[in-house]
Amino acid sequence: MTETAARRIRVVIAKPGLDGHDRGAKVIARALRDAGMEVIYTGLRQSPEQIVAAAAQEDADVIGLSILSGAHLPICRRVVELLRERGMDSVRLFVGGIIPSQDIPELKQLGVTEVFVPGASTQDVVRVIEKGVAVGA
């Protein structure tokens, strides 16, 4: 119990798909690190398989996906599927990027904890991740 409380939140920030726009991913990665989390940034063009494998290897509490290309639904579907297959149900999934509000209910139904759209502050992201991990623990 004490061990869990003292443990820093471990986050894998990933850029899935073919999109290379990494400004948001890097700003978020740095803000989470500054907020005391352990952040692993995968770099660009990671397949869902690579992302979930990285999360398993890093014993991550959280996966943050940055998607600006419109591919969020198929990619999230696949990531959730892989997390289930590997029994990694406790890993919280967050998504940020160009996400139409109409798609947010479907993403949440898939199992995405929260979706951040342009304009979200890094402080909000930090708070929501901390809360999401606490609920999951």
């Binding site: 920030i13 073919l18 740095r30 690190r33 940034y41 419109g70 639904l73 509000s101 304009g119």
Partner: protein, 543 residues
């Protein structure tokens, strides 16, 4: 006299809002500018009339009296047939030129059935996998009557080949084709990250294309050296200017080193800048860009042809400034940014649509964006006189400051051994990353106000958006697979082998790419052939 002084002293200091008066790039501004701020400016040497060296005030004597800028709206989504319809719509509504947005699989040299193409086919642009799709894309559009800009970089040579071959089928030779190929690979390493091969072989492809187009396509802009993506990634105005122009220098240097005469190709180099929200800083940036480029071409490269000195550029308003919140506010942002581009003397302009922080734009949103340009051109009166802000103490001072900052970056990058070397060390990448983080912090501390985001927030209902049918992906996969069955595969295979052989040697790659394209090799197959020879680039994931 004494009494007056006493009275003045007793007057309290005028109230000033409690904020830092800086540009969006963090540049401090004085409360007022005076003639003394620009005292060192020599009109003939530093400004010149529009159309006169160093072109600070514009590259044409008559500017928009001669011709207003080209209203060039970037478009592409779904299948080639869908985008063909959008092109015809834009041409029918006063759009002056076409600008093709390709989807990510095309941009990254992958076929639609590659695993990494999952969810990306036809999403942020049109899917063009082979010459066959390009034929559909331009069906019914005579290529000798339009100018076309193609935003494509790593596989630029393949898409150029497709375009040339569509022209050939229409009976329009390459010498008659007018338009622009982006083909700016350096800014991909720096900002947008749509690279495939390592920097040096990537540069060789660019030089090959410039050489080929210089000989065969006199009306074609061989490259569009782009600051747009550098700015979107978080650069300041001066960094956008510095890295873009230094990229330009790098391309010129590589072409000169490859034996090309500077005046043979430099007139067809073009530029592409962002027009961001800080009005005067942007106008100053455009003016500084022309002056720096003119002097660089004349002094550093000894170009003799005035056309080599002239910096011609396209402008796009800042996508990154658009907010998902209260999307109609984006119309106003875009109008101001577009006005800055016009006052800065742009040759062509794309205005973003109000819904682009949410999705690709709807037809209605695209129409408002185009109308915004038409209102500026025909109602505001700003197109009547060239460089209307020339001589403004503020704008001239900012022009000088941004120029000085850019030249300082030139010195640092030259000292590193040029832009390719600087990119390999991650220098511009890190500078941009720092600026992006600083700006985000400024917004979160409310030092910078973003209307509807960190101030003037309200509850909203979802905005209607354009949905790209998930069916597009399946159909595109089927089209490519049918093509692979239909074509003469022995011929395609031979052409791909010849492409590899050319890549291993030093021959120009364009003829081999034309031949493979003619044999209906796909973008993915041609890029794979080059991947085999050149390898793939991977950047260090740093943040």
């Amino acid at each position: 006299m004494k009494k007056v002084l006493e009275e003045q002293e007793s007057v309290p200091r005028p109230a000033v809002r409690d904020t830092r008066f800086t540009t969006i790039s963090g540049r401090a501004l004085e409360p007022v500018y005076r003639p003394s701020d620009t005292a060192e400016l020599d009109y003939a040497r530093d400004l010149g009339d529009p159309g006169q060296y160093p072109y600070t005030r514009g590259i044409h004597e008559t500017m928009y009296r001669g011709k207003v800028w080209t209203m060039r709206q970037f478009a592409g989504y779904g299948s080639a047939a869908q985008t063909n319809a959008r092109f015809k719509y834009l041409l029918g509504h006063g759009g002056g030129g076409l600008s093709v947005a390709f989807d990510l699989p095309t941009l990254m040299g992958r076929d639609p059935d590659h695993p990494l193409s999952l969810g990306e086919v036809g999403k942020c642009g049109v899917a063009v996998s082979s010459l066959s799709d390009m034929e559909t894309l331009f069906e019914g559009i005579p290529l000798d009557q339009v100018t076309t800009s193609m935003t494509i970089n790593s596989p630029a040579a393949m898409l150029l080949a497709f375009y040339i071959l569509v022209g050939e089928k229409q009976g329009v030779g390459p010498e008659k084709l007018a338009g622009t190929l982006q083909a700016d690979i350096l800014k991909e390493f720096i900002a947008q990250k749509e690279y495939i091969y390592p920097p040096r072989p990537s540069m060789r492809i660019v030089v090959d294309m410039i050489r080929w187009c210089t000989q065969r396509m006199p009306k074609w802009n061989t490259i569009s050296i782009s600051g747009y993506h550098i700015r979107e990634a978080g650069a300041t105005a001066a960094q956008e200017l510095a890295f873009t122009l230094r990229d330009g220098i790098e391309y010129v240097q590589w072409c000169v080193d490859a034996g090309l005469d500077v005046d043979s190709f430099a007139p067809r180099l073009s530029f592409f800048f962002n027009s961001h929200s800080d009005f005067f800083e942007e106008i100053a940036k455009f003016r500084a860009a022309r002056r720096i480029w003119a002097r660089t071409m004349r002094e550093r490269f000894q170009a003799k042809n005035p056309r080599s000195w002239m910096l011609r550029f396209h402008t796009q308003t800042a996508g990154v400034s658009l907010t998902a919140q209260q999307p109609y506010n984006n119309v106003v942002r875009t109008a101001l940014q577009a006005l800055a581009g016009v006052l800065g003397g742009t040759q062509s302009l794309h205005t973003n649509s109000l819904d682009e922080a949410l999705a690709l734009p709807t037809e209605e949103a695209v129409t408002i964006a185009l109308r915004t340009q038409q209102v500026i051109a025909h109602e505001s009166g700003v197109a009547n006189a060239a460089d209307p802000l020339g001589g403004s103490w503020l704008v001239e001072k900012l022009t000088n400051e941004i120029e000085a900052e850019a030249l300082e970056y030139f010195r640092r990058i030259d000292a590193m051994g040029g832009m390719v070397a600087a990119v390999e060390r991650g220098f511009p990448q890190r500078e941009i990353q720092e600026s992006a983080f600083r700006y985000q912090q400024a917004v979160e501390r409310k030092e910078k106000i973003v209307v509807g985001v960190n101030e003037y927030v309200m509850d909203e209902t979802p905005h209607p958006i354009l949905y790209i049918d998930e069916q597009v992906a399946g159909e595109q996969v089927a089209r490519v697979q049918a093509l692979r069955r239909r074509r003469d595969n022995a011929r395609t295979g031979r052409a791909l082998e010849e492409l590899k052989a050319a890549a291993r040697g030093t021959d120009n790659l364009v003829p081999a790419i034309l031949e493979a394209s003619r044999a209906y090799a796909t973008v993915g197959e041609m890029c794979d052939a080059l991947r085999e020879v050149f390898g793939e680039y991977e950047e260090q994931p740093i943040f």
